[in-house]
Symmetry: C2
Subunit: 89 residues, 2 copies
């Protein structure tokens, strides 16, 4: 399935990625993994989802014009979770 | 905590409600209840969430200008889940 990479956007500065899943079970598993990651890191990105897609927005710190290293690392961790979710198919 | 009721919007026809939670644990519990409801009804509304809020959009059937009874019933079931989540605080 085609997947897009993170897109960096400005005003306000943020990273966005949309992920597609084959069915709701995979979507739900991924969301549960994301919840665990959020709790571990203490950072809660904005997440939108429907039956077979999840969109994630990681916003820069309030007022910052650049995404900091910690948030980029979070994006990388989400990529790993997603790669893992895809392996499970 | 102040809570809003469902708002009915048009073009496209949809119901929207934003719910606020005291902390991430409550948000997560509610999302898990929502997942169970979606699976039971076979209907997956669009959901957006952050650490302490959840926004739900129930769209009318493709091309329909009115929200049907089944979708209004779903809104009512979500209200009950949320009332239950609030009791648990």
């Amino acid at each position: 399935m085609n997947q897009t990479d993170w897109r960096e956007r400005s005003r306000p500065a943020r990273l966005e990625r949309r992920l597609n899943f084959t069915d709701y079970d995979h979507t739900r598993d991924f969301l549960e993994d994301m919840a665990g990651l959020s709790e571990r890191l203490g950072y809660y990105p904005d997440i939108s989802f429907g039956r077979t897609h999840v969109s994630i927005t990681i916003r820069a710190e309030d007022g910052a014009e650049q995404i900091d290293a910690r948030r980029r690392a979070l994006a990388g961790e989400i990529d790993m979770l997603f790669a893992h979710a895809e392996e499970g198919r």
